[in-house]
Each structure stands twice: as C-alpha cells, then as structure tokens.
C-alpha cells in the first residue's frame, strides 16, 4: 500500500505513467497463474524472467494489426469509413493506434507506413505537412520508444518524405526500421536512411530476405526489434537467463545435455500457462474488436522464447579466453544455439497457432535493471573487437532467431563525411545474413539503448527530477547506469 501511495506522489512521473503503474499494481495483486514448484524456483533464482508482463495477462504482449485491411475496410467499432485521402488515412490510423493494447499500453507496431500511405499522396507539399503533423502527433501521444513503424523495402515518395521529416524532427518515437531487400532497396533509399542514422540513430536495417523466409505470411518489426506475423502477434515473451542457468552446471556437457533441455521444458510450461490464461480466461480474443473485425486473428499468434546472457554463460566455461574474442567461445555458442533450436522445435504448445506449436526464439535485448549480463548473444559492452571482427563473430548466430535479434554499433561522427562507408557495412551485413543492424554516432543526442531510442538530454533532465514524456527515458536512465550504454565501443 505504501508503494502505491509513493507512486501516486511521485513527482517525476507523468499522469499517464502513474495510471499505467497503478494498473500494473492492481493486476499484480492477483494470483491467477499456476506454476510448478520447479518453475517457481526458476523465477526465484532469476533463471527465468517474465519481463514484468503482469500476474493476470489480459492482453497479448504484442499486437500487430493488419493496417492494410483497416484502411481498405474502415472499422465498425471505431465508426470509421475507409479513408479517401491522406488526411483521413492518417487520422484513421491515429485513432486505431490509440485502441491497440500491448505490454506498454501503446501500440508496438504502426504499420509499413510508406506502403500504407503512399497511394494517398496526390499533392507533395500538402502531403509533407500532413505527414509531419502525423509523426509529431505520434511522438507526443504514443509516448513510448517501443512504438515501432516500418518502411521499405522499395523506395517510395512517402518513404523518402518520412525520412526527411524524421531527420528534421529528431524524435525518439516512433522507432523505425527500413526493411532491406537485395535488388529492391536501392542505394538512393539506403543513403537517405543513412543520413538519418547519422543525425538520429534511426532507422534500423532489417534483412527482409531472411525474415520473409521464416514467416509464411507478411511480418512486421515491432517494439525493439521483434519480428511477428502481421494480423497477429505474441501472447507472451519470457526470457531465459543463460548465465544464471550456467551457474548451476560446472560442466559444459551437463549444461548442454541436462541444463538447457530442462530449462526449455520449464520455459515451455510458463509460456503455456501465461498463454492459457490469456486465451481461455481473459476473454481478450472473444471481446476485442480487433479480432471481430479481422484486424488480428488468433491463428496468427505465437509466443516468444527469449534468451539473454549468452556471453556470460559461455565465459563460465572458458579459462583464459573470452566471448567475442575466441574461436572456442564461438564454438560453444553454436552448440548452445543448436540445442535451443532442437529443444524448442520439439515443443507443441497448444497456443502457438501460427508456428505449429513452436515458440519462436528471440535474442532479448535486456532490461535496464540487468547488471553484468549482456543482451541476447551480444558481445559485452566495452569488450567489443573491431567492427569486422564483431560482425563476423555474431553473423552465424542470427539465423536462430526468427522472432528477432539485433546488434548495435556506435561510430565516430567522422562517418558523416563518408556515408558510403555505412552503405558498404549495411549491405555486407545483410549478405552475411545478419537479421538486423543498428548504428548511431556517439556524439548524437539520440542514442540507442538496447534496441529502443532515448535522448541523452532527456536522461539528464530526469536526473534532476523533471518528468519525461517518453516512458522509455526512465529505462534509458537505468540502462546507462547498469548496462554501461555510454561505454559501447566507438568504431572508427
């Protein structure tokens, strides 16, 4: 009770942030989920973490509406006719966005904006003004860095306008990904996006060729860098701390053959229990207008199996070598990934409808309270080798993660005199089958934390007690402290 009162009186939170936290507090007074003793032990020992999803899941963690269908048909529930022009289309989308739930309370996916809106563009100047207002509206009302829009892979007038506007506005919201497809995404579009990267640390670059192979239908990049089916989403994402699991197994062989399979079994139990409550008890899929109007379908949902702390887990089994710098470490990592791949492929969850019962692996980006444990399979911050070695090291890991993985690289600002450099690096990274890469220049105000963007200036303001509109600023502030974000190697 005193925690809730403290929350109510917290002057560093906005009204919406308080409301959200109060909702979470209420939810967490419930005890609706039944876990085995072993699962509870895994939670207690921080081997498994539910990423604060809440004790009574009443909405899917991530929802990825089919915005194409929405613009084609309108919405009966929202009393919207199909839009006839750009202003109506943007207005309709904004209205729908406010009605899409998620773990953060804001939509984690805004659509492939350029392909959605390009058909409505008739007058360029007028379109520019509308798109600019649209994007400012998103930044000021969907106040979370996990709100994510996609563009590409083909260059369009709308895609170029969005990039121009976002470079001008320098906002942290929305998170933006350009889907790169070889022979479709031209250098002109890429170079324009690179100009944005140099100033705003955005967009991210996703490997469309690889992702599209993993999804039998269209996919979107959502939240940090998660990949999920359009018209569907994820019930839940929970994550396995590979480092903490390794602490129980002194012998790598035991870790591989006993520890991991057992952990996968427990993860599967927890995923199923959380999904069960959502699907069978919460009533979400029966009551949501998104389902009734086929903007999402239950059959397009799956669950996400997250992992993190790979570097520290592998280091437990090395003597004078380290993850990121050693072939032996690389080999151990691949062995762990192969086991995870095999064990998760055996799972037959009744709720992973989209993926024949199998939860998709996801290299979880970490949360701000993580200390001394690295996101996903990333090389620990401050310990990174040079760029070529870093990319070569992680490239073989990306294929295991259809639900998303990314690597982040920081650069000297001299790169702004040579954008072709980043073009070469992006294209080669895609050729080497990385799923997603993110870049930023170390002296820019916008900085990529673990997958989402925050302004350094907003972090500084928060330190003096001033509330920040963007919910994610708090996370950024914690991450800088715990995860040493500012110490990421600056590639020269």
């Amino acid at each position: 009770m005193s925690d809730i009162l403290a929350l109510i009186k917290d002057k560093s939170l906005t009204y919406h942030q308080k409301l959200y936290s109060l909702g979470m507090s209420a939810e967490n007074t419930l005890d609706c989920l039944n876990f085995s003793g072993e699962a509870q032990r895994f939670f207690k020992e921080n081997i498994i973490c539910d990423l604060h999803e809440g004790s009574a899941p009443y909405k899917p963690r991530y929802i990825v509406p089919n915005y194409e269908k929405f613009l084609e048909n309108g919405s009966e529930f929202l009393r919207l006719e199909p839009p006839k022009n750009l202003l109506e289309a943007c207005n309709a989308l904004l209205i729908l966005y406010k009605n899409v739930p998620s773990i953060t309370s804001f939509p984690v996916y805004l659509g492939n904006l350029d392909t959605l809106l390009n058909p409505y563009i008739k007058n360029e100047d007028y379109a520019y003004d509308i798109l600019k207002s649209f994007l400012i509206h998103i930044d000021r009302t969907l106040t979370s860095s996990f709100v994510h829009a996609n563009i590409g892979p083909k260059r369009t007038l709308c895609g170029e306008m969005i990039l121009t506007i976002m470079k001008e506005l320098k906002n942290t919201v929305p998170n933006l990904t350009l889907k790169y497809k070889k022979d479709v995404t031209d250098d002109k579009f890429l170079l324009k996006a690179i100009e944005n990267v140099i100033e705003t640390a955005s967009p991210n670059f996703a490997n469309d060729d690889i992702y599209q192979k993993d999804f039998k239908s269209k996919y979107g990049i959502v939240s940090c860098y998660n990949a999920l089916p359009i018209g569907g989403g994820a019930h839940t994402l929970i994550r396995l701390n590979l480092k903490n699991l390794a602490l129980s197994y002194q012998n790598f062989d035991h870790y591989l053959k006993k520890g991991l399979p057992h952990a996968v079994k427990i993860m599967s139990e927890i995923i199923d229990e959380r999904s069960r409550f959502l699907v069978e008890e919460s009533g979400f899929f029966e009551s949501s207008f998104l389902v009734k109007e086929n903007l999402i379908e239950k059959d397009n949902f799956l669950s996400m199996f997250g992992i993190f702390g790979m570097a520290e887990a592998v280091n437990c089994y090395l003597k004078d070598e380290k993850y990121g710098h050693s072939e032996k470490a690389h080999g151990l990592t691949l062995q762990i990934l192969e086991v995870l791949e095999n064990e998760t492929s055996k799972i037959k969850s009744p709720y992973c409808y989209y993926s024949n019962g199998r939860p998709f692996l996801h290299a979880q980006s970490g949360i701000s309270s993580d200390k001394d444990v690295s996101p996903g399979c990333r090389i620990p911050i401050g310990d990174e080798p040079d760029l070529f070695e870093s990319i070569s090291y992680v490239s073989e890991f990306h294929k295991y993660f259809p639900a998303g993985i990314s690597d982040i690289f920081s650069f000297e600002s001299t790169v702004k005199n040579n954008p072709q450099y980043l073009l070469d690096v992006i294209k080669a990274s895609m050729k080497k089958k990385l799923r997603m890469v993110n870049f930023y220049t170390h002296d820019s105000d916008l900085i990529r934390i673990t997958g989402f963007l925050v302004k350094k200036s907003e972090i500084e303001k928060r330190k003096s007690g001033t509330p920040s509109l963007n919910d994610a600023t708090v996370l950024g502030e914690e991450a800088v402290l715990n995860c040493k974000t500012y110490e990421r190697r600056i590639q020269k």
Binding site: D386, L387, F388, E389, I391, F411, E412, T414, V415, N417, N418, Q420, Y421, L422, L423, D424, V425, A428, K431, K432, Q491, K492
Partner: protein, 278 residues
C-alpha cells in the same frame, strides 16, 4: 621483391577514401615531418633491442633467427610503450608479408569493402611489391586508392597508373622553405607529380595539415587550392586540423574551429567543388 614491410592493416576504415575501405599501412617514409602522428612508420627497425625491456606483457622478445625483435600479437595490449622507447622512429611490430598474405587479408573482408587504400609511411618506396600487389587487386576487380606524399620519381607512378583508381596526396606546404622546415625535403618532385596526376584526373583528394606554427595558413591554402583547382576542380581538398596526439615530443598549436572555417571559406574561392575540414 615480393615481400612488403607492413606496419598494420585496418579491416574497416571510414577515413581512408570513399566507402568502407581496408587500409594497409606500409613501413618506411623518406620524410620526417615534425608533426608526424605515426612516426613509428618512418624507419626500419635497427634491432637495437631497447624496446624489449619496456614490454610489460612479454609480447616482445629477441628473435634468435635474425636478432630483431619478435612480436607475439596475442600478448600485446597495444600500450605503445615500445614505440615511445624507440629512438629510431620505428616499431618492433611491423610485419614482413608476402603477396599471398596480403591478398588473403583483403579476401577476408572483400564483401564489406568498397576497395583497398594503401597508405603508410610512404607506400611508393616499396614500388616493386606495390606494383605486383595492385596488379593482382585489379585482376580481382578491387578498387585501389593510394595515399602518398608524391615525392617519388614519376616513373614509379607510371608503373602503377593502369591499376590504381585514384591517389590521395599529402601536400605539406606550398612554398619550399615551409616544406623543408616541415619535412626536411623540398616539394619540387611532389608538385610536378601532382600536376601530371591532376591532368590525368587521377587525384581524388589533396590534404594539408594546418597549424599556425607551420606556415602562413591563409597564403598556403590559397596557393594550394588555386594550384589544384587549375588542374581539376573535382579534386577534393581536405584541410586537416593538426592534433597533438602521436609520439613526437614537440607539440604545436592546434588550430581553432573558427580558423579552420575561415580557411575553408578562403579555399572555396578557388572554384574547387569540394573543400572539407577534418
């Protein structure tokens, strides 16, 4: 000769020409610039052995084969204590590499790079090797840029012109008296070679390091920019701020941003299409 003395290779460089380039730094230079930021590339090792005791990780040892320092790269923490100790503007860490060694290095990163830039030291002092190397790179359709002070016989350029896409030239000063003060050599050969290369449209960029302690900055950049503008207005002119890092003990004044901007404005009047500050 099919062995080259290589100070180091950098797999990815954003600052050695357009795009992502592998940069290969050759050992040896005929200049001795008072502000050299990588003076450990100037001379060959004399095997005096003074550096060996400086190494705290035992990465250096006396090689019994040829009595020159051996270097265990895996033990090196790159503290540069050995370089600071060296009285000969050299390094115990440069390697003797064959053609195949270097081609293997290039192949490893070839998916990532726009091309290769040869730098140093002064690359063209090892012309025999360089000619073979650039010919091979051209066969593999890899773009080649060369960083040079251009103070070598024109004949060296003639040998490699068909295989090198562009040159990037460090022109230290315009007036000979300034050039000799900075490098201990005159710039007659460099100016002649720049003229010829410029007319052949083989110059990507000319660079000059700026400090008020080196010369009259305004006069120098004006004369250089007019000179190169008359050859080819597409040559990029880069004004490099002197920075005091590097092993040279004597330090000079670092120019202010304001001065650099004024110098840039002065050079633009020459009609060059691109003038940048670095």
């Amino acid at each position: 000769m099919k062995i080259a003395y290589i100070n180091k290779t950098i797999s990815f460089s954003a600052v050695d020409g357009p795009g992502n380039r592998m940069a290969i730094f050759f050992q040896g230079c005929q200049f001795d610039c008072i502000y050299c930021h990588n003076s450990e590339t100037i001379n060959k090792c004399t095997s005096c052995g003074l550096c060996i005791k400086e190494c705290s990780t035992k990465a250096l040892f006396l090689s019994s084969i040829n009595k020159s320092p051996g270097w265990a790269k895996d033990k090196c923490i790159e503290c540069d204590a050995c370089l600071r100790k060296c009285p000969h503007s050299s390094s115990p860490k440069y390697l003797s590499l064959g053609l195949d060694d270097l081609l293997t290095c290039v192949k490893k990163v070839s998916d990532f790079i726009s091309g290769v830039t040869l730098s140093g030291g002064e690359v063209l002092l090892q012309i025999e090797f360089v000619e073979f190397f650039v010919r091979k790179l051209k066969e593999k359709k890899i773009s080649v840029f060369i960083d040079t002070n251009a103070s070598v016989p024109w004949e060296f350029f003639e040998r490699i012109l068909p295989y090198v896409d562009q040159f990037m030239i460090d022109l230290k000063a315009y007036d000979n008296k300034d050039h000799i003060k900075l490098t201990s050599k005159n710039n007659n050969l460099a100016m002649q070679n720049i003229y010829k290369l410029g007319k052949l449209k083989k110059i990507y960029e000319v660079r000059t390091v700026i400090s008020e302690d080196f010369f009259d900055c305004f006069k120098t950049v004006k004369k250089i920019s007019v000179f190169i503008s008359n050859l080819d207005k597409d040559i990029q002119y880069k004004l490099i701020k002197y920075r005091s890092h590097g092993l040279r003990k004597k330090k000079f004044r670092e120019p202010s941003d304001d001065l650099m901007n004024k110098l840039k404005a002065e050079t633009i009047k020459s009609g060059l299409n691109s003038v940048t500050i670095s």
